[in-house]
């Protein structure tokens, strides 16, 4: 306990390594202008299709919200505010070979892969068929258990590649889900196996009422990636172009066998967590107002107008088309035969064991199950 070096040396801390940039990558400014020298990879047709999907998503949100309030739909979560993040990334995929592994807030990505909108309404009306992806639709079911889908995505990507495919898998999860052990275990495994997977972390500022500052002390989730041996990217999640280019780059890396990428799309949840949530309890109205100014749809619209790719009148027409599309899906879902007792027993096992069969028989015969 005697002689002490006057100033014991401090070790070289890895955190001192400042990352290239902690500012989200932006290509499309809020006023609709492009970054200096940037030429979008999306063709005009694709861009219009992406915008259409963003609008469709917003239309579904609004329609579904009012249906929920009328008691015609169960609790669901809107995409509102995150359309650029979901659509921009989904447009980097080829639905004929690539996969989407969703959480529950990525409807437009699922639609682009071929999930029928009617099933969305069926699902949130409480019909199990709503979570059945038709054959050929490369999407895993909605995932309610947060982060549990991330290991699935890694296994899927690894398995596809091992069977000779050049498919990429894009998995979505939230800032909240990123705290689960599953997220870590999956990303670490993906690094080891160089699995062709893109981790699309939508940081929408909230996990229900928990702000991201209580979720992690990291400056960006993208900083997690070096700890798994692959690149992390921080993008402006309200910028369709930036999200798309980052996702494209990541998908190409995946296809080329270069392994996974983590993308933090920094966006904002403009609606409640779900229709059962009351965000006025915890969201600062000024903050919300400021965030509304950054609506990703507004931004793309400004660009489209400037480029004269879509006039106000054309958009009006598009909107009414979309509303018709949504209404048709709602009508179809509402006309669908209701789920019944048999849905409790079907698809539990390929071939139900005797006990389950007996339970089914008694239940459907109206008898008691013992």
């Amino acid at each position: 306990m005697s002689r002490r070096a006057p100033a014991p040396p401090a070790p070289p801390a890895q955190a001192l390594a400042e990352p290239a940039s902690l500012e989200p990558w932006t290509l499309l400014a809020p006023d609709g202008t492009l970054a200096e020298g940037y030429r979008p990879s999306l063709s005009d047709e694709e861009l219009l299709a992406a915008f259409r999907l963003m609008l469709l998503s917003r239309t579904v949100d609004q329609r579904a919200f009012s249906l929920q309030r009328q008691g015609r739909l169960g609790t669901f979560s809107t995409v509102e505010g995150q359309e650029a993040s979901v659509v921009g990334s989904a447009f980097a995929l080829d639905p004929a070979r690539d996969w989407v592994v969703p959480q529950y807030r990525e409807l437009p990505a699922m639609l682009r892969q071929g999930y029928p909108l009617t099933r969305f309404f069926l699902y949130f009306r409480g019909h199990p068929i709503g979570n059945q992806m038709p054959e050929g639709v490369r999407v895993l079911p909605f995932q309610i258990s947060l982060a549990a889908q991330i290991p699935h995505a890694v296994g899927l990507a690894w398995g596809l590649r091992q069977q000779g495919s050049d498919a990429a898998v894009m998995t979505y999860f939230g800032d909240g889900a990123s705290s689960e052990g599953d997220a870590h275990e999956a990303m670490n495994l993906a690094g080891v196996r160089r699995a062709p997977v893109v981790f699309l972390l939508q940081n929408n500022g909230w996990a229900i009422s928990t702000p991201v500052a209580k979720q992690t002390a990291a400056q960006s989730f993208a900083l997690r990636a070096p700890g798994y041996g692959f690149p992390g990217v921080l993008v402006d999640g309200n910028d369709l172009f930036a999200v798309h280019e980052a996702a494209r780059w990541a998908v190409e890396r995946a296809r080329a066998g270069e392994g996974p990428t983590l993308i933090e799309a920094r966006t904002y949840r403009l609606g409640p967590h779900n229709t059962a949530d009351d965000p006025t309890r915890y969201v600062d109205p000024d903050e919300l107002r400021a965030r509304r100014e950054l609506d990703p749809i507004v931004r793309v619209r400004a660009y489209l107008r400037a480029r004269r790719l879509l006039s106000e009148a054309e958009e009006e027409q598009l909107r009414s088309q979309l509303m018709d599309e949504v209404n048709a899906a709602v009508a179809e879902a509402e006309a669908h035969p209701a789920a019944d007792r048999r849905h409790i027993f079907e698809h539990v096992y390929a071939d139900p064991p005797p006990r389950v069969r007996a339970q089914r028989e008694r239940a459907t015969a109206g008898e008691e199950v013992r």
Partner: protein, 325 residues
């Protein structure tokens, strides 16, 4: 006495115990500023500060795992699982750590802790939110399991749990949060563990249940009464410890027993009740013990959940079968 619903009883109990013992600290997802997704902790962060009502990152494993360390440090943590179904994410911490730390450390580190966890069906929650997992925890020695069916017991058992030197899994019936309302004793009120509650007297068939299934049992007893069958209802209140004496007496009194629970049939806690009763009251039994439960299928989507869970009709049918035996 004051009439309260279950969530009010829970909230006021947490409040009272936090005021009484500064070591009590709550942790969970959305429990602080938001007051919990069911408002069970509403206002408590305002009252006791952010250090005692802590919004946690979204990770059940560390909500439970950190509670182990908090308990070792001298506090009495009350981790909330937002839904019991997500306790599976923390299963290794619950069965492997919380339950065994006293044993592992040979008494050096007790784990005074209450794990609050809403569960149960017929409230149209999404998948995995309704699951009744109690049997899995009952096979995990070191834990105690409380499952109140009334607001008064919610208070009494929660107070008891918070003062227990061992970890208690405290399961709260979602459906009962607002629907279950009854007289709650004011002031100090504890309900000892391992004492079932005779919810209804009866002489023909004893219906055994816990948590929200007690309500179903009572409805069935009511229907049976109209048919001239007298059903008793025994509310177990805690599964571990199990009130073996009350089970024996109920079976001896009626000779016929029906167990009701929301978990799947196979290897549900109903099996334990049946096995215990036949052990203890074999010679009194006049009919096979019956279990009325959910099916051996995953908890289904909202549209059919009411057909999945035991209801009064199904319980009544089992009661009739028992009477015919």
């Amino acid at each position: 006495m004051a009439v309260m619903n279950m969530v009010e009883a829970i909230r006021s109990t947490l409040d009272a115990e936090m005021a009484r013992d500064e070591r009590v600290i709550l942790l969970g997802q959305d429990i602080g500023h938001n007051g919990g997704v069911f408002r069970a902790t509403d206002g408590l962060q305002e009252r006791y500060g952010e250090d005692r009502v802590v919004d946690m990152p979204l990770a059940e494993g560390v909500i439970i795992g950190a509670a182990v360390g908090l308990a070792a440090s001298g506090l009495i943590p009350v981790p909330e699982l937002q839904f019991l179904g997500f306790g599976s994410q923390a299963f290794h911490q619950l069965e492997g750590q919380v339950a065994r730390m006293r044993f592992r450390s040979q008494g050096r580190f007790g784990m005074p802790m209450v794990i609050r966890a809403p569960f149960g069906g017929n409230v149209r929650t999404p998948e995995l939110h309704s699951d009744a997992h109690e049997a899995k925890y009952a096979n995990s020695p070191g834990l105690k399991i409380a499952m109140p069916a009334t607001a008064a017991d919610a208070k009494g058992l929660l107070t008891q749990a918070l003062r227990d030197p061992d970890p208690v899994l405290f399961c709260e019936p979602l459906r009962g949060y607002r629907l279950i309302r009854d007289d709650v004793p004011e002031g100090e009120h504890t309900v000892p563990f391992g004492r079932a509650r005779g919810a209804r007297e009866g002489s023909d068939v004893a219906i055994v249940a816990w948590s929200a299934a007690v309500v179903v049992a009572e409805q069935a007893a009511e229907l049976a009464a109209r048919e001239g069958i007298s059903c008793g209802v025994l509310d177990l209140r805690t599964l571990v410890p199990l009130d073996v004496d009350a089970l024996r007496e109920a079976a001896a009194a009626c000779g016929r027993v029906v167990v009701v629970h929301e978990a799947p049939y196979t290897s549900g806690f109903g099996a334990e009740v049946v096995a215990t009763v036949q052990q203890e009251a074999f010679w009194s039994l006049e009919a096979p013990l019956a279990r009325v439960t959910a099916y051996d299928t995953p908890y289904p989507i909202a549209a059919v959940e009411h057909q999945y869970l035991p209801d009064a009709e199904r319980v009544l049918a089992a009661v009739r079968t028992a009477m015919e035996a």
